[in-house]
Symmetry: C2
Subunit: 306 residues, 2 copies
């Protein structure tokens, strides 16, 4: 299976390196200077793993990569417009497009531009940071939940999952990707949001503060109610596992805080805007999420360079 990785932030670099290390035929699109990666390969550090992929296939353009069997999209959702030009050289008749991006709306974007039949999505449960183009560090977790866009899983879904499994990435397959997207938002909407609007703090600082912990739970319940309103049946006590997970994991900077600190665009529409709009379209309301959304937008406009 020839695989392209489009988007070489922390997530794309980590999973791409894992797949390459596991023996997959991986080709990275890396815009900008490639000399470090060509010289050093990619170093993956983290809990219980420490390896270097010495030879990396990396390119400045997708024309150089050419048609693939699987294209893994790991760009920031804020750069989706770039995909319109980046993806076509990677396509042949049955090429699969798999987005690892956060939030809602990314499968729909790919479907609209390249056809719904090609589209898969995955939730990445991982705490990872990129120290440079050639070094990523995984702090916790790493598993992937994989599914088809608006379809139950197919034989090809299992083939992709097998590719991840061979690379020692724990990967499960879901028949209901949309439900899993909402389930992940139970965590992302409060923690990614509060990490910024409560003053650039990590997950440990959020759960250690009594008021913020209560607000986190209120946001989680709001997400669950909205998901149910949109037809995705999440259990009413679904917030408990998420809170417990964050209480036991050591302090971590959610991706949005990492983006803020790096002066990068924030995925505001995918994580907060689109869920609010979908809830509204189903007659639901997310006033707390809207509050975070309004504050994030304003603070994002107001920030200077990193």
């Amino acid at each position: 299976m020839k695989i392209a990785i489009v988007g070489s932030g922390s997530v794309g670099t980590y999973y791409g390196a894992k797949l390459a290390h596991g023996g997959s035929d991986v080709h990275f699109l890396m815009r900008g200077d490639l000399s470090d990666v060509r010289r050093d390969g990619i170093l993956v550090r983290g809990r219980g793993e420490n390896f270097q992929v010495v030879k990396i296939n990396c390119y400045n353009s997708t024309q150089e990569i050419g048609p693939c069997d699987l294209v893994i999209v790991a760009l920031k959702a804020t750069s989706n417009a770039d995909l319109v030009d980046l993806v076509p050289p990677l396509l042949k008749e049955r090429t699969m497009l798999l987005t690892l991006q956060n939030g809602l709306g990314n499968e729909e974007f790919l479907a609209e531009h390249f056809g719904a039949d090609r589209v898969l999505g995955a939730l990445c449960f991982i705490a990872v940071d990129r120290h440079s183009k050639s070094e990523v560090e995984r702090y916790a977790y790493g598993h992937v939940v994989l599914g088809e866009f608006n379809r139950v899983s197919q034989p090809r879904t299992r083939e992709v999952a097998a590719e991840f499994s061979r690379a020692k990435v724990h990967c499960s397959v879901t028949d209901n990707l949309a439900l899993e997207r909402w389930r992940k938002l139970i965590w992302n909407i409060p923690f990614n949001g509060l990490s910024i609007v409560a003053g650039r703090i990590d997950t440990a600082a959020i759960v250690a503060d009594k008021n913020l912990r209560e607000l986190t739970i209120a946001l989680m319940n709001e997400v669950i109610t909205a998901a149910n309103k949109c037809g995705h049946a999440l259990p009413n006590d679904g917030w408990q596992e998420h809170i417990k997970r964050s209480e036991t994991m050591s302090g971590y900077k959610p991706s949005t805080l990492q983006d803020w600190e790096a002066g990068k665009p924030l995925e505001i529409e995918a994580i907060w805007g689109e869920p609010v709009r979908r809830a509204a379209a189903s007659g639901g309301k997310m006033p707390l999420t809207e509050t975070i959304y309004a504050l994030l937008n304003k603070m994002d406009q107001g920030r200077g360079s990193p």
Copy 2:
């Protein structure tokens, strides 16, 4: 009427200087260095007024002031504990205590420590800033709404109002001070709060941002609903005048933002904490206000020196 001013921030200095200028017998408690004020008096600048009160009675202790007819309390609510020692030297049998402080709970504090019969309260609708101990600038408004604590207005209420009116401060008397406190919160809860949590911005920046303007209206409606739940009948469209006022007034930094920038304590409990608790005690909920409250508390802990 011998008047003491306890608390010489912008509000205490402005109204004290107005009263002195109007001919009242005013005595300022000003802790710290008094030499500037003793030398220069107090300069009041602002829309349509520009005057200097040359001779200021100012003191380092309330013992030096001695018993008064009226004690005007204009400390930050966060310093209320200081009043336990500051006020007694100012009291005689019928001394009135008038708090100009923001938010809820200040009349109750005075009543608990010095007797409910003495207590009056006023809402100050004013945009004012203190440039130094001896200079304040009024940007807009200035009128005062005066009332008795848990009583309808009394003959003495009118006497105090007459003192303000003689000093050319527009002053009206209310028979329902608690209702007016909630009415003022319709403005303070969103604008004072968002001025901090949306990234230290003024009122013009808040209403100019579509999302923040909507959030402001949602917060205003929440305050109105909570007030009604607590038995204070505010009209459901009560938010409209407040929004209009802020849209026509030029950008202004609410007192909480001024406090933040000066490195002073924020009146978080009086403006957000106490309303949330009172609503809850009446079976009401203020989730958006709680959100602002949680964020303010955390950001307040996180801020360094100015």
